[in-house]
């Protein structure tokens, strides 16, 4: 995404589409529009003399607020729009491009609308939620630009199913290889077999911190036994040791994959619920302003 497929000057045939990410869509058309809008608003904010000072309740403040709420509703509509994939002038890509850049310009519109007056009230709550949505979106764009490459290089041509199957194959071999082991060693192997490769919760997923991984622990324990003995080739513990090695490598790859996917997905868990929270806070903000008018 976000990469221009070709910089050559060969003319495109009619109907042929050149791959162009939504960030670069139509030569940054929406970036220019949103940037121009923001600049216009910043300049007009500085030039227009509102007494006693700028706030959301002046004519200028109401104008910004109206633009802001319209924009927020339109931006939210991407959630509906994205379900209908179309091309052309009002293509989904154009829509997404506008969503990104107009969403960013909302930082300027919303902040100027506040007149830099903040407090512990529903108005600032709405502002805070809006900023949360925008910043999570900004994060989303960033990881969409950066992470897919890392994700693809980590997969090394394996699909998710293949990764899981590889792990299962190692587990089966481990299970078989551990059959001759004494109960203590067998229990260590079983610990590794019983480990949920997808367990650990959100924090583990995002940080990729698996220091207390039981497979690693089991491996370490078995190593302690095998390291002092010569490898004669007939020790079942040596085989288990080698298998645990492979399992650890496989787990590491799987976990990197899970972490990258979690980093790619987490922002939507903020962006989407915060958007709806914002719509609720915005409703409360607008109703309360006119209620105590």
């Amino acid at each position: 995404m976000a990469t221009r497929a070709s910089s050559t000057h060969t003319p495109r045939a009619k109907g042929e589409t050149l791959h162009d990410g939504f960030l670069r869509h139509a030569g940054f058309r929406w970036a220019k529009i949103a940037g121009g809008l923001s600049l216009l608003l910043v300049v007009s904010y500085a030039l227009i003399d509102i007494t006693p000072r700028h706030n959301g309740g002046s004519w200028y403040g109401y104008t910004l607020g109206t633009i802001g709420v319209g924009l927020i509703l339109w931006l939210t509509a991407l959630g509906l729009r994205k379900r209908a994939m179309t091309t052309g002038r009002w293509s989904l890509k154009a829509w997404t491009s506008a969503h990104v850049y107009l969403g960013l310009s909302l930082i300027v519109i919303g902040t100027l609308h506040t007149g830099f007056q903040f407090g512990w009230n529903v108005h600032t709550l709405a502002y805070g939620l809006m900023m949360l949505v925008i910043l999570s979106g900004l994060y989303g764009i960033t990881v969409y630009t950066v992470l897919p490459r890392a994700l693809s290089s980590n997969r090394s041509e394996m699909t998710q199913g293949q990764m899981l199957d590889a792990l299962r194959a190692i587990d089966r071999q481990l299970h078989d290889a551990a059959q001759p082991l004494a109960q203590e060693d067998a229990a260590l192997v079983r610990m590794s077999l019983d480990q949920d490769p997808f367990g650990g919760g959100l924090w583990r997923r995002l940080t990729g911190n698996h220091r207390d991984c039981v497979t690693t622990q089991a491996h370490r324990e078995l190593r302690r036994a095998t390291s002092t003995r010569p490898n004669l080739g007939n020790d079942p513990l040596e085989k288990v040791d080698a298998l645990l090695d492979r399992k650890e490598a496989m787990l590491a790859q799987l976990r990197r994959h899970l972490r990258l996917r979690a980093l790619l997905e987490i922002w939507l868990y903020v962006h989407v619920p915060a958007t709806f929270a914002l719509l609720a806070a915005l409703t409360a903000h607008i109703v309360s302003v006119f209620f105590y008018w």
Partner: protein, 633 residues
Amino acid sequence: MSAGDENTGNRAGAMAFLIRTTSFTADGRELVRSATIAKPQIRVGRSAECDIHLPDLAVTPDHARIERIDARRIAVRATGTLGFDVDGRPSQSAEIDSATGAELRFGGHRITVSRSDADEVVLSVQRTEAVSDAAEERDEHQVFSLAGTMIGKRPLAWAAVVLILLAFLAVPIASYLSRPREDTRNIYAVMKQRGPAKDVVLGDSSWSSGPLSKAHHGLEGKCESCHTQAFVSVRDSACKTCHTDVHDHARPERIAQARAEAGLGGRLLASVAHAFGKPGPGACVDCHREHEGAGPMQPTPQIFCADCHATLDSRLTDTKIGNASDFGTDHPQFRPLVMVQPGKHPRFERIALDRKPMDDSGLKFPHALHLSRTGGVARMAQRLGAEQGYGDALACKSCHTPTSDGVRFKPVDMETNCQACHSLGFETIGGVTRTLRHGQPDQVIADLRAFYRSTGPTVPIQLGGMARRRPGDYAQGKVYHAYFGAVAARPNGADAAIAAVFSKGGACYDCHTVTPPGVNSATGWTVLPVHQTMRYMQKGWFDHAAHKTEKCESCHATTTSTKATDLLLPDLKSCRECHGGEKSRSDVPSACALCHSYHMDEGAPWVSHVGSSAVGPEQKRKKPTAERAADLP
């Protein structure tokens, strides 16, 4: 099961176990293998030598023994410390009636005990748990994405929406609608109800867009005191419940006529405001904006005045008020109220300072002479300095006393401010000096006649003017007789003394305008009444206390003034040395409200006490303490 197996079972049934092992192929097909073991006792374990071989790491190599007790019953006994489950209950040994049946669990394997038709004890072995956790069936979409780890986006969104709408909308509105109706709508009544007040609207403080100003702090959280009706903007009536004596700037029809016709943008804004039910132009809230932060309410910006006053004469053609839009650039010259004709019935007129008006109080007083650092007055001040608190010469404060609020000065008083030098004493009897009565010419004449009638004057009276006095000899309480020696020697001295007092060179004449008998059909000597103006600027406000860091002379040209009729007020140019318009770069940017009050009364404009501009420059321009002290009146 084949026929051969059954035969074997019948023969060895009494002592044999029939082992049925169930496993599944990769595509989920069930495979059952049966084997008969004709032993009274069999071994269960992970070891390959066991009769029931369980390839299960949770099972020890030699885990348990199963023994036939009789034709029906078997005994199960764990060999090591790891036990097994019988019908879900952990156990080390158990006796089982095969006819009743039971379910044994060894690690991840289940062994069901039953009895065949051929009286064999059937042990059905089946793996129930996957080899490893990873081997279990999984929904790939769930486990690889965050969906398996996080609460869903939808429940999160719903929870947030419901919570916010409840806390910030439903609760305040419900509380508002259910509040008691007998609302007093008065800040004092509202404040009385503070504490466990009944009519507090729950949660509406979260609607406040900012703290209220200092004066309205008591109304914080009492939103409904001003926002009396839902969806109706704050009206003047809400303000006037407390501010009952606020009067208008001018007659409403005059204000309507004076208000400038708005431009296209202004008309558009006005129509939008009107459509949304905002009160029309001139509402209290147009100038007095609330929720702009704690502390004093923001002063009204000058644009609210300039809207009408910038081009007032084009609409109010009969107005006498000059156009004004900015103190620094567009403000008419001051027009103080001066006394153009003194006397018993003085006549006042507002005259612009450009026309150099005279202010005739009826008094003769040369400021320059009194403030001179050389000459008789200065010598006199030096002699009396210790007693009266003068310095090397007279200063402004020697005669001018500020009012208690420091805004202006008390009228100069003969007894308090002049008599120290200008004595009216004429005779000393037993150490007490008799004094002519100031302000009562008839009494003066009577006292003088009495003086001459009673006894021959052995000591002449002291009533000379100041021109021929020697410094220090005529202070209050002393009698000077150089001049009146001759007068006293004459017969009928009283009339001459009276004439001398009221004539040029006499005590009264020096300061007052005296009319001799016969002029203007007066029967006796008359003294023109004196009026001292306390406030020249009737339409604006000037506070001397706010200017005490300045020297008097920087605004009042006293040292060059030789006549009492000189009006020593500073003009517009002089004020502009420090003051400029609201947005100017001057030392003291001054909006209209610094000096003028929209709701004009005798008092100061309310903003002059709180406006930041009144404080800032004073701090900025602070002089050394000694110098300041000397300047203080």
